[in-house]
Symmetry: C2
Subunit: 357 residues, 2 copies
């Protein structure tokens, strides 16, 4: 890709702060590598609700559709917690995922050198932790209907629907197999086949596809067991593929295990359209506006975007090395702080990484 159009959606909480630094970083990339990157801003989440009354304004959606990639800060916050479901910040993100067909959420889970001390796990368990979680993102309980509250006789009840077509399952599993093929050739498919019909269809589909990927070792884990194995022996995993809600829970669990939750990026991909890149951490309303947030997960999301959407490996590598060298020098943001390291603000950390580029 010669030049690139990026839709930038700062969102809520610490979103705007870390996005500002990400844009500064992109501008430095433009300058150093003579690249052409066109940035346009859009509103989403609580910010969009406040300004336009809905969490995903049409203008934002159009902007995203006509961009090569979307870079998102974070959405959500207590301010909008009392809103009905479709007028909550998260509904904007969910609608964007659905509208852009972002069916695959990729979350690489790694431990950064020097940050092992931030992990709640014993040090020896962190060795060789290097996995990718492939989460289905446009199906399952998030989008199935009926999804409603209703009165039945005298009483209220509520329902959500966990629905998958075989094609949806096959599409995400195939991506899991493909990714495993590019890595250590080990795919763990997580389901709850002893209880759920959707999981049984999932498991059968995985078995069928496995015949096409004889070079990949497939194994199945029940979700409750997966939640245990992630803690017991995180290094055993290479690629994990699972449905939307299980992926939501397990990927956050896996991120926490590394101690690098403020460091982990994610990519959400569609079949043909723009991908969306965002840090896996949330909007952290408790520290919003204080210039304390860690921008590194956002920077790594930028790197993922440059690598995957634009195919600019050199630029992506440069960002990653810059981050590693800043960490190696002992610079930390608040969330990473250990004794003997220097604490930086969001903007100071941004500047350090740009310098190191």
């Amino acid at each position: 890709m010669g030049s690139m159009r990026v839709a930038v959606l700062p969102g809520d909480g610490i979103g705007p702060e870390i996005t500002r630094e990400a844009v500064n970083l992109l501008e430095e990339i433009v300058r150093l590598f003579q690249r052409n990157i066109e940035i346009q801003y859009g509103q989403i989440g609580g910010a969009a609700i406040d300004e336009e009354g809905i969490p995903l304004p049409n203008a934002t959606l159009q902007l995203c559709r006509t961009s090569d990639a979307v870079l998102l800060g974070a959405v959500g916050g207590p301010k909008w917690d009392e809103q009905p479901g479709h007028l909550r910040p998260e509904a904007g993100l969910l609608a964007l995922r659905k509208e852009l067909g972002l069916y695959a959420n990729l979350r690489p889970i790694t431990v950064f050198a020097g940050l092992e001390g931030a992990s709640p796990l014993r040090g020896e368990l962190l060795q060789d932790v290097d996995m990718v979680i492939v989460r289905e993102l446009t199906g399952g309980l998030y989008f199935g209907t009926p999804k409603e509250r209703r009165q039945s006789g005298q009483e209220w009840e509520a329902v959500d629907t966990l629905h998958y077509t075989e094609a949806e399952i096959e599409r995400i599993l195939r991506l899991g197999f493909e990714m495993a093929r590019q890595r250590r050739r080990h795919l763990t498919s997580v389901d709850k086949a002893n209880v759920l019909e959707t999981s049984r269809l999932w498991r059968e589909t995985a078995e069928r596809l496995a015949l096409e990927y004889p070079d990949v070792t497939l194994n199945h884990l029940l979700v409750d067991n997966a939640a245990m194995q992630l803690i017991k022996c995180p290094s055993r995993f290479d690629v994990i593929v699972t449905e939307n809600m299980f992926g939501d829970i397990l990927s956050d669990e896996a991120a926490m295990i590394t101690g690098s939750i403020g460091m982990l990026p994610s990519a959400s991909l569609s079949e043909t359209g723009p991908g969306l890149y965002e840090p896996i951490h949330g909007s952290a309303p408790d520290i919003a506006g204080q210039n304390k947030a860690n921008p590194l997960a956002m920077f790594l999301s930028v790197a993922m975007m440059l690598r995957q959407t634009a195919g600019w490996a050199r630029e992506a590598d440069a960002i990653q090395s810059a981050i590693e060298s800043v960490l190696a020098e002992g610079w930390r943001t608040d969330d990473l702080g250990e004794p003997g390291t220097a604490r930086l603000t969001t903007s100071e950390m941004g500047a350090k990484v740009r310098e190191a580029l």
Copy 2:
């Protein structure tokens, strides 16, 4: 309770081995404390499928209904994995939960003195870990309908239904508040209110009930965040209350954190009928029949049964102290083994605990 009728369901895998030791333990209790305990055996799970073709024979259900308590080993195994859903071992357990109205699954999560080394977490995080997970057990995705595979046009699809009535939600939340009141007065309600309608009804119901329990501090956690906080700071939790599937995942995660997964019992309670007591670990087919399984979670399930159903606190305390002293002497089963401890078989561990009574 003067005397007690117990339905004993050994089940599959290591179920029969640990159940045998549990019955030996019960007989020792009878002898030492002059108690009257009547034991009758029933079949469930894969064992019942093999003998009678279905995972919950009517005779077993009748036996349970007419008993004061049910003691269950474990169900499931690869042998029955290819069966259709309703003919799998787990279907027997699910049907038993539903038929007996066992709406509340209580899982106390503690770290045993001397076993901290088995935890994947750093030692300092284990201090003061002492929580109970209250899991809703007869609603949600496990039982909601439609729950089926169907053809839509050319294509297969599958659906499961996450359904809750307000009364079901209120009943389990109330138990959570009551338990918190008997403990450290802190209740964490886990949901996914930013995505699920059922969770929004759940959260509102929790808020409404909180007015009746001003002495209990209620807070809400999203399930993905809960999966993180359990690892980051397990000691912050007192009572956690959540719906069926989230409870399945989080309680296994919490159990693994302690390193004491072979040590944790559970109770499933109904409004008026018999309770069911079982270890939280599974049927462990890989070590079945080898006399290697750890029977201690089963023994602690017996203690819970004696305390909660029969009201025999002295007997329950005696079992717990016996287990603690055996561990303090350095005796371990394989799963707990560390250097410098002596490994016992299932039956040897059973004998040691009986001696220590």
